[in-house]
């Protein structure tokens, strides 16, 4: 299970990369993609859409079912990854790279404090296993 040190996490298995104090990139973790197995569909919000921490902002579907992806922070969608919509298997192949989902303009940087460190996230994954 790959949990990069430079990222922050949610208990719902999203990762967050701070670009600066105002913008983040997010996607789903290696653990999440392993649980989902074959990702065959990704639905992303449109650019400009307001998202809220802890509220669904995207959907991924495996062969069997659809799952909500939760926004790790509140803010506005500034970029989406069109490649992951065209090739959903990028989520399985490269969850922290080519398989990213959204870039978000953060409205409340204090919310970063609610995100999990790699250590904390790892213990959550282990307890679920």
């Amino acid at each position: 299970m790959n949990i990069p040190n430079e990222l922050l996490y949610t208990k719902t298995h999203e990762w967050v990369k701070k670009i600066n104090n105002k913008e983040v990139i997010m996607g789903i973790t290696d653990y999440a993609q392993q649980q989902l197995k074959d990702v065959v569909f990704v639905e992303l919000p449109s650019i400009g859409k307001e998202v809220k921490a802890g509220v669904p902002c995207a959907v991924v579907e495996s062969v069997k079912a659809a799952y909500d992806i939760y926004s790790p922070v509140s803010g506005k969608v500034s970029k989406i990854n069109p490649k992951v919509q065209e090739n959903p298997q990028l989520v399985n192949e490269d969850p922290y790279g080519e398989g990213w989902f959204l870039q978000i303009e953060v409205s409340d940087p204090n919310e970063f404090n609610n995100l999990l460190t790699p250590d904390k996230y790892q213990s959550i994954c282990q307890s679920e296993h």
């Binding site: 197995k37 074959d38 065959v40 569909f41 639905e43 959907v59 579907e61 495996s62 062969v63 069997k64 079912a65 659809a66 919509q85």
Partner: protein, 365 residues
């Protein structure tokens, strides 16, 4: 919860297990998509011991079966298999099953896992005029394996050192193996050539291991219920509880050919005849998505601003690389090429009716 005799074997193969009706069953061992392609190209081994099996024995076993099913068992030879719905008085589908005819006085029925108890009650309820009649539940004592895919014939012949060319499609035969009797039928639920093997429960693990050990290098892998579902959907083999239930009649689906009005009375005949004469209000169609989006069971189907029916099965289809589904909709929209919309998470996405089945295997050279 129940376990099949192969439960521990599945765990050892690190299968992802799920509860399916009353059973813990393997959903996938690897990836559903890989397992799906593997069965289309090579061969897959499935544990389908959760399916219900009954033996029907008696002087009047044949007329009993004929009264219970909508298809016509008169056409069956000994050792032949017939697919049929069982309907209630209103023509609603109680279950769909395979009828194995050993001879006029001895049949075996293979039914859906979720319906086993209901079917047993239904059979017993109608057995009175056909006494003496014995209905034995074999579900726990006999296991069922499915070996499916283009290489399955070769693999089975190697493992059993016997010839299977005499077992034609929808026929079965007994073989002796390891001082026990196994029954092999050339049937399946994947759209590929393949076999289903009845083996005494206490020998199931041994047979499973023998098949896999002998043949892993020849291309046999265990396959779970996840791929079984995508394989059957591409081949347009219906799934009870999704594509049909007691509110659906066979005439509304794509198995309308299984209702034979030319035979003597059977349960539901009058209602079905009535429906045939008055016309059906909905019909099953196969469709593929034009827009991106995966149709799922229960999603509504729209034409303009009107709901015209619902999706009964839907999935990403690994073989065609499209998103496909079956739906029950108003009959006027079921012509090939007709377009409608599927509602997915409150938005409507375009889809079109296509020819079924979505996948048909190439005939053997």
């Amino acid at each position: 919860m129940k376990k099949t005799p192969l439960y521990d074997v599945h765990l050892k193969s690190s299968a992802k297990m799920v509860s399916f009706h009353d059973y813990f069953m393997p959903l996938q061992y690897d990836s559903i998509i890989n397992e799906h392609h593997w069965v289309r190209k090579n061969a897959g081994l499935f544990d389908v011991s959760h399916m219900g099996r009954f033996e029907i024995l008696g002087e009047k076993a044949f007329p009993f079966i004929q009264y219970m099913i909508t298809n016509d068992a008169r056409q069956l030879m000994d050792n032949q298999v017939l697919y049929s719905p069982v309907c209630n008085e209103h023509g609603g589908i109680i279950d769909d099953l395979l009828v194995y005819k050993r001879h006029e006085k001895h049949f075996v029925l293979v039914v859906n896992c979720g319906n086993t108890e209901k079917d047993l009650v239904w059979l017993q309820k109608h057995a009175a005029p056909y006494q003496p009649l014995e209905i034995r539940d074999l579900t726990e004592t006999v296991s069922l394996l499915a070996l499916q895919g283009p290489l399955s014939g070769h693999i089975l012949e190697t493992a059993l050192r016997g010839k299977l060319s005499t077992v034609k499609r929808f026929f079965f035969r007994d073989f002796s193996w390891n001082n026990t009797r196994i029954t092999i039928s050339r049937t399946g639920y994947t759209g590929e050539d393949g076999f289903e093997i009845f083996v005494e429960a206490k020998h199931a693990v041994e047979l499973w291991n023998l098949l896999l050990e002998d043949n892993e290098r020849d291309g046999l892998k265990p396959v779970g219920l996840g791929a079984r579902d995508t394989l059957r959907l591409e081949a347009c083999l219906l799934l009870y509880g999704n594509d049909m239930d007691e509110t659906v009649t066979p005439l509304e689906t794509i198995i309308d050919w299984t209702v034979k009005f030319g035979k003597a009375d059977f349960i539901g005949k009058k209602s079905l005849l009535n429906q045939k004469e008055n016309g059906i209000e909905r019909k099953m169609a196969g469709f593929e998505m034009i827009d991106r989006g995966i149709p799922r069971h229960g999603y509504s189907v729209w034409k303009e601003n009107e709901v015209i029916g619902k999706v009964t099965s839907g999935s990403f289809s690994p073989t065609t690389n499209k998103n496909i589904g079956l739906c029950l909709i108003k009959p006027q929209y079921t012509k090939i090429g007709d377009e409608f919309q599927i509602q997915i998470r409150n938005s409507n996405y375009h889809a079109r009716v296509v020819k079924t089945p979505f996948y048909k295997r190439e005939p053997k050279q």
